[in-house]
Amino acid sequence: MAGLWWLMFGISLFVTAVIVVLVLWAATRRRRPGVRARMDTGQRYVTITGIILPAIVLVLVYVISLPTLRAIGDPKDPDQLTIDLLGHQWWWEVSYPGSGVVTANEIHMPTGRTVHLRLRTADVNHSFWAPQLNVKTDLVAGRTNHLWLRTDRPGVYRGQRAEYCGLQHARMAFHVVAQPPAEFAAWLTGQARPAPAPPGGLAAQGLRVLESGSCASCHAVRGTTANGRIGPDLTHLASRRYLAAGTVPNTRGYLGGWISNSQTIKPGNRMPPQPLGSEQLQALIAYLETLR
């Protein structure tokens, strides 16, 4: 891919330079008075420079590009890990088939292994793009698209949707966390567990707020009675790096602000402001922070 880019870049730079130099030369050279414009039609010159040379270059670039196209297609790897991605306005639902793990906006993957992403959308068209890892692939309503990722370098890669999807199109990022296989396996096991029981006190009160309030109608916390499917799964909320699809870091302050009135942080998002008393809010935050 990089080789293809530098080839195209070099050709482009050359063509642009040739045209710029010719235009400047034509504009600035001084012709002796009395030298008249040449009147030949120049058909042969245009045929060579405008048809034959470009055709050779284009065919060359096209042929060179074909192996790259094949490389980003289905690698037919039997050992691949499948991850389901469901686009929502304006967040990503990530699930790992077979393990029961459902999370949001943070995609963990093992290094050195092919990952097969199945892309679907719950509402409008989106597009999945982690610039350092993969080319764009759209999430198209009514269809399932496929994408294969593979990286050998552990790290956190930022990505986002790239197809215009409405008001908060700008704030719909995600992070791909590439981990060594052992670390990934540990993460997956942890995520598969239901939410831990609150240690008591404020956190236990927070769980009651969550289950009895409006939270549970949209959000799910596995291991409790909250099983809404409209918003992101919160079972391991505290383990995520960001809130609201990469909008703000997952800290106590932002979490509280988001719950009380998320509309000031990401206007137009689907979560209505929560009219909680300060005590209830503190309790809820305390509980959510235990969801590691």
Binding site: R38, G50, G73, Q132, Y164
Partner: protein, 581 residues
């Protein structure tokens, strides 16, 4: 920007210049022309007034379903889009038919197809593109309107509809539309460069073929807007190859322009500066365009700022630069005033610098992963500097455009009187007064070459033509109809007199569209019936004139016969002269 400026701007140039370039007195269908003007105005009123009411279309210019469907965009915003564009399409289609008919039937005698100015070729190819490209868009918009208003399910996957259908239909219009926007601009460049290079355009037949080829190929590349949709790789390779091929006609034109300049003697007039600025900017848009033809590269940078940079280099560089150059070029002809040279130079350099400073950094922010259509982004992603540069460039560009407007205003206010031919141009419009009389040419000339004002034969014909009755302005409303290929004189055609009927037709259609838009279907039906009646009145044979002894065609036939005889005589005279010498 795309629908109401870039696409129809060729019609502005065309309506004024086409009859002048062809050596005739009016468009073939003046009433249809008035109709297209009023429909365009009313469609513009619908689309722009929606901004005042806070109901502007809100699904992006390509309006992908399901985002634009009834579920995600309730309210009439997207109905304004679908109906407004359908209505606008009526204007564009009628205008295209008029352009084609005019160019085929009203060319001055002797202007055979291989002597037609390149700009006219560009307008005709554009008109054909519009006629074939608009039906998919109209179909899609009609389906979208039915989906939104009457509960059909064309684009609803859960009911068996298909959202990718919209994308196919839209881009089947959308890609040819790129050439609909760019081709007239390329035609303008092909008009400016020979004039300021003091020699005819190079490789004329190849240039014409290139334009026609672009028109045809542009219908076979639409899927390159959809490389990331998840279509099978095999079909992507076909569209990738087709997208590469479309580069070749552009290469032909680019090297023909540069060659013309190299072989000629370049005079750096203000219009020429814009044309040369265009060459530099357009080649950059062209090379990045080739990159987009390569599927894996496209999938990486599509919907990023890289594509924003690319299409501004093509559409701003490729269309707006030539259009401003064209306005400078034909300004003296249109207004009868010269523009200030210094103002023109300042406006060019400011716009050129501002444009590049605005859009070049977007290549880089796009390669750094910045997606398009975001109103905000977090800091620390290395995008900040490039966006800052783009913002500064935008102000510079604004300053440049203000200077451009100021130059034109100054010319209107204080500009020197323009002679008929201030630039030493090659085509027929420079033979008329500045500004031209309503009838353009007192005498219809005979054309002997592709650059009639540079050859003595064509120039002499203005005097010689006075001998032919049908070429002289007789009763104010006569055009000379010639044959399609060889422009042999056929008949003198009497043009219709003034009438408000086209205006009333447009008004009744406007009311019908408003009725549909606001859901007042009684109004829509009533206005539709009125429209049919008015069109009936429009098409009704003109009995009164026939009774008065002005049967259409009769007088024309007489003059044609008379002229045929006169021409034979002239021919005989010429051969006798030749024999005498």
């Amino acid at each position: 920007m795309i629908f109401l400026f870039a696409t129809p701007m060729s019609f502005g140039f065309g309506n004024f210049l086409l009859p002048l370039l062809l050596g005739t007195r009016d468009m073939a269908f003046p009433r249809l022309n008035a109709f297209t003007y009023w429909v365009f105005t009313f469609a513009g009123v619908i689309l722009f007034s929606s901004l005042l009411f806070g109901r502007a279309p809100n699904g992006g210019w390509f309006a992908y379903v399901p985002l634009t469907g009834p579920k995600y965009q309730p309210g009439i915003n997207m109905d304004v889009y679908s109906l407004g564009l359908l209505f606008l399409g009526v204007s564009t289609t009628s205008g295209s038919i008029n352009f084609i008919a005019t160019s085929l039937k009203l060319r001055a005698p002797g202007m055979t197809l291989n002597r037609v100015p390149i700009f006219v070729w560009a307008l005709v190819v554009t008109a054909f593109l519009l006629i074939f490209a608009l039906p998919p868009l109209n179909t899609a918009n009609a389906m979208l309107f039915l989906d939104r208003r009457f509960g059909t399910r064309f684009f609803q996957p859960d009911a068996g509809g298909d959202v990718v259908l919209w994308q196919h239909l839209f881009w089947l219009f959308g890609h040819p539309d790129v050439y609909i926007i760019v081709l007239p601009a390329l035609g303008i460049v092909s008009a400016i460069i020979p004039t300021f290079s003091r020699r005819p355009i190079m490789a004329y037949p190849l240039l014409v073929l290139a334009m026609v080829a672009v028109g045809i190929i542009s219908f076979g590349v639409w899927v390159h807007h959809m490389f990331a949709v998840g279509l099978p790789q095999l079909s992507l390779t076909f569209f990738s190859a087709a997208s590469m091929i479309v580069t070749i006609p552009s290469g032909i034109q680019m090297f023909a322009w540069v060659g013309t300049m190299l072989m000629g003697r370049v005079v750096l007039g203000v219009p020429m500066m814009w044309a040369m600025g265009f060459l530099v900017v357009f080649v950059i848009g062209g090379v990045t365009g080739v990159m987009f033809g390569i599927v894996p590269f496209d999938q990486q940078v599509t919907d990023s700022y890289f594509v924003v940079a690319h299409f501004h280099y093509v559409l701003f560089g490729g269309a707006v630069f030539p259009v401003i150059g064209g306005v400078f070029y034909w300004w003296p002809k249109t207004t009868g005033r010269l523009t200030g040279v210094r103002g023109g130079q300042w406006s060019f350099w400011l716009v050129f610098a501002g444009f590049n400073l605005t859009f070049f950094p977007m290549h880089i922010s796009g390669l750094l992963g910045m997606p398009r259509r975001v109103y905000t982004y977090p800091g620390g992603l290395d995008w900040d500097l490039w966006n800052l540069l783009s913002s500064l460039g935008a102000y510079l560009l604004l300053a440049g455009l203000l200077v451009t407007l100021g130059t034109f205003a100054h010319s209107l206010w204080k500009g020197a009187q323009a002679p008929p031919d201030p630039w030493g141009g090659e085509t027929l419009e420079w033979a008329t007064a500045s500004p031209p009389r309503p009838y353009n040419f007192p005498v219809i000339p005979t054309v002997h070459s592709v650059h009639p004002l540079w050859d003595q034969g064509s120039l002499d014909s203005f005097a010689e033509g006075a001998r032919f009755k049908d070429r002289v302005l007789a009763e104010g409303h006569e055009l000379l109809v010639t044959s399609e290929l060889d422009a042999e004189p056929e008949v003198a055609l009497e043009m219709p007199e003034h009438t408000p009927v086209p205006f009333f037709t447009a008004v009744s259609l406007f009311l019908a569209v408003l009725g549909l838009l606001l859901g007042v279907y009684v109004l829509a039906v009533a206005a539709g019936v009125v429209a049919v009646l008015v069109i009936g009145r429009w098409l009704w044979p003109r009995w009164s004139r026939r009774e008065a002894g002005h049967a259409p065609g009769e007088k024309a036939r007489e003059t044609a016969e008379r002229d045929a005889a006169a021409e034979q005589e002239a021919e005989k005279e010429k051969t006798e002269k030749g024999a005498g010498a």
